[in-house]
Symmetry: D2
Subunit: 97 residues, 4 copies
Amino acid sequence: MSTIVDFTISPLDKGESLSPYVARVVSIIKTSGLSYKLGPMGTSIEGEMDEIMSLIQRCFEELKRDCGRILMTIKADYRKDFSGRIKTKVSAVEDKI
Amino acid sequence: MSTIVDFTISPLDKGESLSPYVARVVSIIKTSGLSYKLGPMGTSIEGEMDEIMSLIQRCFEELKRDCGRILMTIKADYRKDFSGRIKTKVSAVEDKI
Amino acid sequence: MSTIVDFTISPLDKGESLSPYVARVVSIIKTSGLSYKLGPMGTSIEGEMDEIMSLIQRCFEELKRDCGRILMTIKADYRKDFSGRIKTKVSAVEDKI
Amino acid sequence: MSTIVDFTISPLDKGESLSPYVARVVSIIKTSGLSYKLGPMGTSIEGEMDEIMSLIQRCFEELKRDCGRILMTIKADYRKDFSGRIKTKVSAVEDKI
């Protein structure tokens, strides 16, 4: 539970509307059992680095079935001995404003 | 209102705990009047591209006062003739799951 | 000269081949007078933060003329009292391998 | 060979100078046998998605040994039926300027 990742995936050959593709990916994330949170610009996922990377790999394989070009962006934040940060990171900031 | 940006800013010379620095930045975003949403891995901001870029510039100037090295990541998503997407992008996906 | 930015810009409504769009953007970067370096996954630009941000804004306005949806990613690395890093950052690593 | 990734890794608890840490990571990339190219803002790596992800995992494990907080950014570009793009992507743009 020591890593949070922000993850986006965008087919480039399917035109402007991406939500059907994002929905296929979010269904996979949902069934993974990892904590996640949808945001307007990406999905945050918390777990161990190897679990998250293997989940992202499965999301990519799903879209590769019918997409000819795919962009992914991943930002990962690992912090030793911390967990549950998908909730506490936002409140740690809000408490200081 | 046609652009959403995901924005993160991290001083590299202040150790592991970044929330005091992030809080200073979020205070500036809050007083800008633009729509925003805090997330565990970044802050989403909606507006016109030039407004958002000038706001990010002000956030950077604030941390530059006492930070010797700063990383920023920005993901911008412009869509012509769309607005209010800071809310609708998530529900467009949720409706399809 | 204290900031380096890695910059990518991708229209989402123009299909798989993006090099004609990237070329229009690189022409603008070229005439800016700032140091830059093309890479396979983005263009590095060195300068002051405000110069670079205003250049990126001009690149965006150019593609906005005919693109309905545009993604941009920006990674910025500011380091006080350093410059010329578009060359020295790579050699600092190579010297240590 | 259908994917290129831009990869950065930054410890947050080791102060401003990161090149010793980046050098340890680049040594691992070098011995992987995959095509790579160092840039001022990240390292580009070309291969199949699963090979690259497993390599990035090994780079992370190396820094995890002595770093308490680590940020990684990954941008991946998959294109079906293309390869060798670590060289051709730049020349495709340069030919059009």
